[in-house]
């Protein structure tokens, strides 16, 4: 199991950041419904197969935390 965050979309890929800030390309066609920039994805790899799910709770939690940090830094 691996958790990644969608950073941006380029061409046919979602460019995602893993826990070590390494970037990986995930094909758009494999993304679950509702995946967008900032969405936290859970990748479950079993052999050849990759199952991708959205972690809604962590997506929300990260959004709130970063928004708070941002608000405190703007002059």
């Amino acid at each position: 199991m691996k958790k990644v965050i969608i950073d941006r979309f380029e061409g046919n890929f979602a460019v995602c950041e893993d826990e070590d800030r390494k970037m990986i390309n995930v094909e758009r066609s494999r993304l679950p419904e509702g995946a967008e920039e900032g969405t936290v994805l859970v990748l479950k790899v079993s052999g050849e197969d990759i199952e991708i799910e959205i972690d809604h709770d962590e997506t929300r939690a990260r959004k709130m935390k970063i928004k708070e940090m941002m608000d405190s830094l703007f002059s």
Binding site: E19, K67, S75
Partner: protein, 318 residues
């Protein structure tokens, strides 16, 4: 009366003449080849008729030098631009995460300890990857970025680095002018509070020194470009940092008509997975007569200005 031939002699003679003729023909052919005039036209990209010199000489724009130097650092499929002017320096974007050390080292190698301005055009990793490392490594006077968040650790680490330095973020307000030595830059975008596409939040600045100008557009797409044109901003610039690595969704005809660049720089990675730069973008740039320089072909591109004249240098190995 039938003439009698010495067939062997005749054959030899004919062979001799034939060989002579062939030698003459071959000589003609090769001399024609040598005399062929060089190909005409703009050959940007094949290294023939461009003012760019190759490595082997000192990179201009070290901190002790006078005049303006704009360094489009080769960070592959990403952006990072260092600007030096009379001992002052600023940075626009900091490459991918994996470019952190490279960007920091490049700035240090120019003898720079302070960055007057750091601009994070927008929060995508190919523009802010090395930003936390840069903020930790140098004294930063002003950090300018749009008020749009990203959920990534990369973005979070940049905010932490800003916070730990006790810095506050300056939002980009179009029309604001900032000095950099004898040069200055003006903010031209973003012009809206909300955009569908994160790229359109990109901070766009125009740098002016004497009669020369440079336009840096981050990843701004058609929507932001249209706003800048409609607002009637003075977009005309000698050098254009082409938006979004030359993607098909930036660099509209209308925008290019307004900018009229002589030189277009594309910051792009060799054999990237995203099809950058788009053939139609290259086509549009050629149509307005811009000379194209690409980091995937030339490496780091340094453009200098003395306020009147612009010179281009390219360096494969930093």
């Amino acid at each position: 009366m039938p003439r009698r031939y010495n067939t062997t002699a005749t054959w030899m003679k004919m062979m001799y003449i034939f060989i002579l003729f062939m030698v003459f023909v071959i000589a003609r052919l090769s001399s024609e080849e040598v005399a062929k005039p060089p190909a005409e036209g703009n050959t940007a990209g094949n290294g023939q008729i461009t003012p760019a010199t190759e490595s082997g000489e000192k990179v201009p724009g070290s901190n002790s030098e006078r005049g303006l130097a704009v360094h489009f650092i080769d960070v592959g499929q990403a952006d990072s631009i260092l600007i030096t002017m009379d001992g002052a320096a600023m940075l626009i974007d900091a490459g991918n995460n994996e470019d952190s050390q490279l960007v920091v080292d490049y700035i240090k190698a120019r003898g720079i300890t302070t960055l007057e301005y750091v601009i994070a055009t927008h929060p995508h990793e190919d523009h802010i990857g090395g930003m936390d490392a840069v903020i930790k490594s140098f004294e930063v006077k002003h950090i300018i970025m749009p008020k749009v968040e990203s959920n990534t650790r990369t973005f979070e680490e940049m905010l932490k680095a800003i916070s730990n330095k006790g810095l506050k973020i300056t939002p980009p307000v179009p029309g604001t002018v900032y000095p950099l030595g004898k040069a200055e830059f003006v903010v031209l975008a973003p012009n809206s509070k909300r955009y569908e596409n994160t790229n359109d939040y990109s901070v766009v600045v125009k740098l002016r020194y004497g009669g020369t100008s440079f336009l840096f557009t981050g990843d701004a797409g058609f929507e932001s470009e249209n706003e800048m044109v409609e607002k009637g901003y003075d977009l005309q610039s000698d050098v254009l940092k082409v938006g979004h690595h030359g993607s098909a969704y930036s660099t509209s005809k209308k925008f290019l008509q307004a900018v009229q660049p002589q030189i277009a720089v594309i910051s792009v990675g060799k054999g990237n997975d995203y099809g950058h730069p788009a053939p139609e973008t290259i086509q549009k740039l050629k149509q307005v007569g811009a000379k194209i320089y690409r980091t995937d072909e030339r490496g780091t591109i340094v453009i200098t200005s003395d306020g009147e004249k612009i010179e281009v240098f390219a360096y494969k190995n930093q």
